[in-house]
Amino acid sequence: MNWDVIIKWLPRLTEGALLTLELVAIAVIAGLLLAIPLGIARASRHWYVRALPFGYIFFFRGTPLLLQLFLVYYGMAQFDVIRQGPLWPYLRDPYWCAIITMTLHTAAYIAEILRGAIQAIPPGEIEAARALGMGRRQTLLHIILPRAARIGLPAYSNEVILMLKASALASTITLLELTGMARTIIARTYLPVEIFFAAGLFYLLIAFVLVQAFKLLERWLRVDACQGR
């Protein structure tokens, strides 16, 4: 193992790690915002409300993220309408393509988590809210969503870690995030083991920090106290 090489390229790898963090942070936050209406619609009692989110979730969970990235990054260029459209400067840029695709991808997973969480709320609690005279909207805002957030939080933290690892795929559309940076460095140094090892350590470190942060968040939201344990 050649440690000097790792130390020499550490600044570049850190640069890559920062881009990775940026991609993941934007994707999981935008994904969450997109997932809230999707998840609520997915948990609806009416089949015509459920159908659209179901199809969306089925497509994004049933196909590889790599394929989705290629569909957006390469696939959109097939249509002249899009190439002449106002969004083309964004859809041409690998950074925006990665963000759009990762957001759409993770939104499908988060929506499914949210649906599970909404359906896991004891019906008695919703009935109690209704019995106290809360309207549908009030029940949703004050009872269902806060409760679902706490039930779904552990699964959401899982999803964030999965997205951290999935962000490595952005390297295939030429983005220089952690994996992309590692591959670029390897192309110059021909030392795959050392550089991939260092990149792996970075991922482990980031994952560790994220797990600890979510533990704090769970304590702050008193997730345990809400589970009736």
Partner: protein, 231 residues
């Protein structure tokens, strides 16, 4: 839009077959690794516990793509010294083998946790009953623990297999000619990226539906004799 495949249909079909082979090979490797990991993690021997938990923690903390790349590009030196040692001309890991090992490794790390949960879910009395009947430890494992664990672990393993099947797309990065790689080739020739990647997407969706159907029957078989409690 009727997809005009420009004569790439057979190539995509071959890619689909390659994806299926890769997924099944990685599944076999991963099941063995997961079982070993779970047994190590639930054993009463400290170093084994430590080995099992560090395996699942480290492998799960690093992206699958990195494992694929590391095993494909990182083992070149290792294989060369191995070839020297064996006195062979040259020895290298092909993309299929590297993909199988990398995906199997990742599947195994997750399966470790699934199997561990399932082993812990088996009542302690069953093991004790086996001991009281004078069965040896391997015998208890084989005839009492494993058949019961299978039923509990199956839904979790099904989820992992779906993830594995989508992860096979990553192996296209090291040039294995599975669905993704074949579509990329078709795209280069036809300049119709959206059409071909969409076709690939529907192939993956089809494979997912196939796997879901398979899981349904496997679970039905594993659950025979157990009535789902009404709730």
């Amino acid at each position: 839009m009727t997809p005009d495949l420009h004569g790439f249909g057979p190539a995509l079909a071959a890619g689909t077959w390659m994806t299926i082979q890769l997924a099944l090979a990685a599944l076999a490797v991963g099941l063995v690794l997961g079982l070993l990991g779970a047994l190590a993690k639930t054993s009463s021997y400290k170093p084994l516990q430590w080995l099992g938990s560090s395996y699942s923690t480290i492998v799960r903390g690093v992206p699958e793509l990195l494992w694929v790349l590391l095993i494909y590009f990182g083992t070149v030196g290792l294989m060369r010294s191995l070839a020297d040692w064996l006195g062979l001309e040259s020895l290298e890991l092909n993309a299929f083998a590297a993909g199988t090992i990398a995906l199997g490794l990742c599947f195994g790390a997750y399966a470790t946790e699934v199997f561990r949960g399932a082993i812990l879910a088996i009542p302690r009395g069953h093991r004790e009953a086996g001991l009281a009947l004078g069965l040896s430890r391997p015998r208890i494992l084989w005839t009492i623990i494993l058949p019961q664990m299978w039923r509990i672990a199956l839904p979790g393993l099904g989820n992992l297999f779906m993830i594995l099947m989508k992860d096979t797309a990553l192996v296209s990065v090291i040039g294995l000619e599975e669905i993704m790689r074949r579509s990329q080739i078709a795209v280069t020739a036809s300049k119709e990226p959206f059409t071909f990647y969409m076709v690939a997407a529907f192939i993956y969706l089809g494979l997912t539906i196939l796997a879901m159907t398979g899981m349904y029957f496997l679970e039905k078989r594993a659950n025979r004799g157990f009535v789902r409690s009404a709730s």
